[in-house]
Symmetry: C2
Subunit: 214 residues, 2 copies
C-alpha cells in the first residue's frame, strides 16, 4: 500500500507541474496489440501542423514502439521495465524523470503509452490529466465486466479496429451495456486507425483537451 | 521476492500432487480476448468422449467464462482476484484450494485459464505441468519481443484466430523470427477455434500429454 501512496503523491505533483507548463498529458492504456501505438501515431500525424507532441513509451522490453514513433520527428522517451524487474505498469516518478530529455517549453501535449495490460496500469496514477483505455473489436464485448477497474479509472474509451467489425462480429449493444455497469459516464469513440473512420470526433476531443489546458 | 519463493514451493507441491493423481494440468495464458476460453471449450468438446476434464477459471472479476464452460457439464472452479485486491495473476495455493471441490479420482486433465495478461502470470508458477501461451493474430507479430518472459516460460504457443489472417494480415515469418530470439524451442500450433483449422495437431499434442502423465 505504501507504494501506491507514494506513487499518488508523485502523480499529483506531475499533474500540477504539467498544468503549470500548459502541457496536456494523456495516459493511453489497453491490452497488448489493442492498437495504442497506431492510434497515437495517426493522431499525431493528423494534428502535427497545429501542435507540438512528445511521447513517453512504456514497455517491458524492446524499443519497437519508440522506433516507430521516432519517425514522426518528435521527442520520444522509452521506459523499459525489464531492468526494474519487468513491472507491468508505469510509475509516476518514472514519467517525470523521462521528461527531463524533453524541451517542455516547446511541447503542447504528451502521450504516455502505458504497458499493454488491462489490469495493473489502472492502479498506478501516472499524473496524466486523463486516462484513455483502448478496447479493440477482436477482444470481445465482455472486457469492461471482466477487467472493471481499468474502465472505471478511464475518462474516455476508444473502440479500435472498427474496420474489422464485419470479419470479427461485435455486439456493440452488449459492449455498452457492460460498460454502463462499470462507468456510465465514460466518453466513447469508435475508430479505425487503418481507414480513418471515426477520427473526426476523437481529434475534436483531443484538441478540446489541449485548448482547455492552455 | 519472498512471495515468489513461497509460491514456487506451493507450485512444486501441486505438480507432484497432480502427477501422483495422474492428472495433466495445463496453464493457459494470453492477452485479454486472445481466445483462451474459446480454445479450452472447443478442445474439451472434441475430447470429452475420451477424457474427463475440469477447469480452474481465473479472472479479476465476473463469472462470465466459468458460466460458459459450465455448459460443458464438467467441474469448473472460479477464482476471482478482485476480493484479494485485483491481482493480475493466479497463485499456486489458490490453484490447490480450488481443486478441493473436484472429485480428482474421476479427472484426467485440468485446464487452468489464467487472468488475461501477457506480463504478471508468467512470473507465478501455478504448479501446472506445462504453460501454454495464446497469441491471437490481431495482436501483431511483435509480442514475443515486447513481452519476452511469457514466451520464455511457455512450453507451447497457440496462434489463435487463424480465420482472421486475410482480414487482419500477419507476417508469420516475422512472428517466428521474434519468437526464435526469445524461445527457439517452443512448440507452435496455429488454430482457428471458429473454423476448426489446425485443431488436429493441437489435439494430438494434448492427448499425448494426457497419456504421458498416466
Ligand atoms: N485492422 C486494423 N489493425 C490495426 C488497427 N490499429 C492497429 N492495428 C494493428 O494491430 C496490431 C497491433 O497494433 P499496435 O498499435 O502495435 O498495438 P499496441 O496496443 O500498441 O501494442 P503493444 O504496445 O505491443 O501492447 C498491428 O498489427 C497494427 O497494424 C486498426 O484500426 N485496424
Ligand atoms: N474469429 C475468431 N474469433 C475468435 C476465435 N477464438 C475466440 N474468438 C473470439 O474472440 C473473443 C474473445 O474470446 P475469448 O475466448 O473470450 O478470449 P479470452 O482470452 O478467454 O478472454 P478473457 O478471458 O476475457 O481474457 C470472443 O468474441 C470470441 O468469439 C477464433 O478462432 N476466431
Ligand atoms: Mg504499442
Ligand atoms: Mg476467457
Amino acid at each position: 500500500q505504501n507504494i501506491l501512496q507514494a506513487n499518488d503523491a508523485f502523480a499529483e505533483e506531475n499533474r500540477r507541474f504539467f498544468r503549470e507548463k500548459r502541457i496536456l498529458v494523456l495516459n493511453v492504456m489497453g491490452s497488448p496489440g489493442s492498437g495504442k501505438t497506431t492510434l497515437i501515431e495517426k493522431t499525431i500525424r493528423m494534428l502535427e501542423d497545429r501542435y507540438n507532441f512528445a511521447v513517453i513509451e512504456g514497455d517491458v522490453a524492446s524499443t519497437i514502439d519508440a522506433d516507430k514513433l521516432s519517425k514522426l520527428d518528435i521527442p520520444v522517451a522509452q521506459i523499459n521495465t525489464e531492468p526494474f524487474g519487468g513491472a507491468c505498469h508505469l510509475e509516476a516518478n518514472w514519467i517525470r524523470q523521462s521528461t527531463e530529455s524533453f524541451d517542455l517549453d516547446k511541447i503542447d501535449m504528451i502521450f504516455i503509452e502505458n504497458v499493454g495490460n488491462l489490469v495493473c496500469p489502472a492502479e498506478f496514477d501516472t499524473g496524466a490529466h486523463k486516462n484513455i483505455v483502448i478496447l479493440s473489436i477482436p477482444e470481445g464485448e465482455d472486457k469492461p465486466a471482466k477487467y472493471p477497474l481499468m474502465f472505471r479509472v478511464s475518462h474516455a474509451m476508444v473502440i479500435s479496429k472498427l474496420d474489422l467489425i464485419d470479419a470479427v462480429g461485435c455486439d456493440m449493444e452488449l459492449l455498452h451495456e457492460n460498460l454502463k455497469k462499470v462507468n456510465d459516464g465514460i466518453i466513447r469513440f469508435k475508430v479505425s486507425s487503418k481507414s480513418g473512420e471515426g477520427f473526426d470526433d476523437w481529434l475534436k476531443w483531443v484538441q478540446n483537451e489541449i485548448e482547455g489546458i492552455k
